[in-house]
């Protein structure tokens, strides 16, 4: 049970983080988060800090290189401050590095391809990315919902049309489902729990991108509207540490090898 004062202080922290992320991004945000005590948060309260901070990155559309910290903390023989190679979809590797960042990566994340990498442990990193994807999906849903209420065609807000409403409802279902997988404690099998959560979050974010893009119509296709930042972000984040499609196939291979279905969820 979280006490009221804990809840209050978490809300204060969330407000502070959100403001910071809305005003800055990239290396500057890394510096600002260091000031706000990111390293202490990560060591003292990772169960609260990781979902909160990464969800907010998604909701605000900001970015920082925090994933590197999560990966090196969980990987034996690595230290904070190092830049690990990160697996990318299709068997590739990338680094999240401001120095020498390529400007070819979609949506402006400082990722660049590298030829190979050392093995890394990805449990918390996949969960973190899952929360980021879910945060981005929520941001897209908020934009599409507001547009549906504001945009008038045929003499009424398009939110009144069932086809539009059902796309938005489907999006919420996908997001809520993914959040449930991310919230599962997963003590029994942390690797598989995190793998499935990342797969669910990636799938939810891609569903949100598709549905919200459609609901936003022409304006959502312009660079004037914020949607495209989120669409591009989730395309990149879905591929990072394994795409939803790849992770899902991997989970299927695991079932076949095992010959039965793991019940990761207990009452």
């Amino acid at each position: 049970m979280t006490s009221t004062s804990d809840t209050d202080s978490l809300e204060l922290l969330e407000d502070g983080l959100r403001k910071t992320m809305l005003s800055t991004s990239g290396a500057e945000l890394d510096a600002a988060l260091a000031e706000l005590g990111w390293a202490d948060m990560l060591s003292d309260m990772p169960e609260q800090a990781i979902p909160l901070v990464f969800r907010l990155l998604g909701e605000t559309g900001s970015h920082a290189s925090l994933l590197n910290d999560i990966v090196v903390i969980q990987t034996a023989g690595r230290e904070l401050g190092e830049i690990p190679e990160l697996p990318y979809a299709g068997g590739g590797w990338v680094v999240w590095d401001y120095d020498g960042a390529s400007d070819t990566t979609l949506g402006g994340l400082p990722l660049r391809r590298v030829d190979e990498g050392d093995p890394v442990r990805l449990v918390d990193a996949r969960r973190a990315l899952g929360w980021w994807l879910v945060g981005s999906a929520r941001a897209m849903l908020a934009l599409a919902r507001q547009h549906a209420l504001d945009r008038v065609q045929f003499g009424r807000p398009i939110a009144g049309f069932q086809a539009v409403r059902h796309r938005l409802a489907e999006t919420l279902v996908a997001i809520e489902g993914a959040e449930a997988t991310l919230s599962l404690p997963g003590e029994d099998n942390p690797d598989l729990t995190a793998l499935l959560a990342k797969a669910a979050a990636g799938k939810a974010a891609l569903t949100a991108a598709k549905n919200c893009q459609q609901v936003l119509g022409g304006i959502g296709f312009t660079a004037e509207h914020d949607l495209h930042h989120h669409v591009k972000r989730v395309l990149v984040l879905d591929g990072l540490l394994g795409s939803s499609r790849e992770l899902t196939r991997k989970a299927g291979a695991g079932l076949r090898a095992r010959g039965s279905v793991p019940r990761l969820v207990k009452l």
Partner: protein, 374 residues
């Protein structure tokens, strides 16, 4: 005894009991009659041993304890294939209604008969003209002295042919009464003169659903559930149980069938991995969501429109599972007359019964996304 109310301890004692008391269905008979006989046999054994009484209040013959204990019993019984999910889930939609709406003496008298397998009951809600729009139902109840006289027709009434009693929704009041205040529920003995039960043939060849006709059926006023006009609230109050404990049991059943599918395809190589993974992801997501819902209910939170998300996830996962069965076991549905065929066909109804997928999305859009009226 207090320790038994702790979920892990409860489950391990239940599992130990099940290991010592073999309730496996007799082999060779997959008829609905055989399922019903097994259902009653299982309930009797579980009631006598106490397991069927945990999580229900002592005032209605239960042994108390948190409601989540019922989900655990359901998960073990249905997940092990000891009882079918359909009949078993009826307990969860009938019993809370009786406890919350029947006169306490009536509930105390009747509920133990249901939980112990002495009787089966059914739920008369849907009508030919009232499916998604349940509030438009037209089966009428008219007061006549200390009786109410009922005329009309119900449809999709599960297991009515085995039932001795029915929780029935009727229309009362006059033409000016708003729909949601014009519905009144009764607890009706099905051997009352004027009642005809006719099983429906369905596409999956299991005559589980019935039409029930009411022709001048006289019901004592003491069998009214709640007060006149309480029927709509009664129907809505069922949702938390239907969408928590019931769903949890049903998910356990789907997992057991997924185990069976994997057993059949495990020697096949990598070609099926993506399909298996997608079915697993859908089931796992559903189970995570349902766990969170169970815990919210256990904490005393009131469940509401957000359970429409659970319903959409369940229907989607169920159809995904059986689509995968048909894809990975070519011919098993079309050429072989076995359980996969029945289950595949039954799964087509998952987006229709209990509130269609469209109605759920309407609820989500209106109540959760606050998109205003259509």
């Amino acid at each position: 005894m207090t320790d038994l109310f702790e979920t892990a301890e409860f489950r391990s004692q239940l599992v130990a009991w099940l290991d010592e008391n073999d309730l496996t269905p007799p082999p060779g008979d997959d008829s609905l009659d055989a399922h019903q006989a097994q259902h009653l046999r299982v309930l009797k054994a579980l009631y006598d041993a106490g397991w069927m009484r945990y999580g229900w209040p002592e005032s209605a013959g239960g042994l108390g304890g948190p409601e989540i204990l019922r989900a655990i019993v359901g998960e073990e019984i249905v997940g092990r294939g000891i009882d079918q999910p359909g009949p078993y889930s009826m307990l969860e939609v009938l019993t809370p209604t009786m406890i919350d709406y029947a006169r306490p003496e009536l509930a105390a008298e009747m509920v133990p008969r249901l939980l112990s397998g002495q009787e089966s009951w059914c739920q008369g809600f849907s009508e030919p003209g009232a499916g998604s729009d349940l509030a438009s139902l037209t089966t009428r109840a008219v007061q006549n002295g200390d009786q109410w006289v009922i005329n009309g027709q119900k449809v999709w009434t599960s297991f009515a042919q085995y039932a001795t009693r029915c929780i029935l929704l009727t229309r009362t009041g006059d033409g000016d009464t708003p729909n949601h205040e014009a519905i009144t529920a009764f607890f009706v003995d099905l051997d009352t003169p004027g009642i005809t039960v006719r099983p429906l043939r369905t596409m999956h060849d299991v005559d589980e659903f019935c039409e029930v006709y009411f022709d001048d059926v006289a019901v004592p006023a003491g069998r009214m559930l709640g007060k006149p006009g309480d029927g709509w609230r009664l129907a809505m109050d069922l949702l938390p149980y239907e969408r928590s404990t019931c769903f949890w049991q049903h998910i356990a059943y789907l997992y057991s069938r997924f185990d069976a599918l994997i057993g059949e395809v495990r020697g096949r190589g990598t070609a099926s991995d993506s399909d298996l993974g997608e079915a697993y992801l859908a089931l796992h997501t559903l189970r995570c969501r349902s766990r969170a819902t169970q815990h919210r209910l256990a904490e005393g939170q009131k469940l509401g429109p957000e359970t429409s998300i659970d319903k959409v996830l369940l229907a989607g996962a169920e159809q995904k599972l059986y689509d995968t069965v048909r894809d990975l076991l070519p011919g098993a549905v079309e050429l072989d007359d076995g359980p996969w065929r029945t289950e595949y066909l039954y799964s087509r109804a998952a987006t229709i019964y209990g509130g269609t997928a469209e109605v759920q999305r309407n609820v989500i859009a209106r109540r959760l996304l606050d998109l205003g009226k259509e």
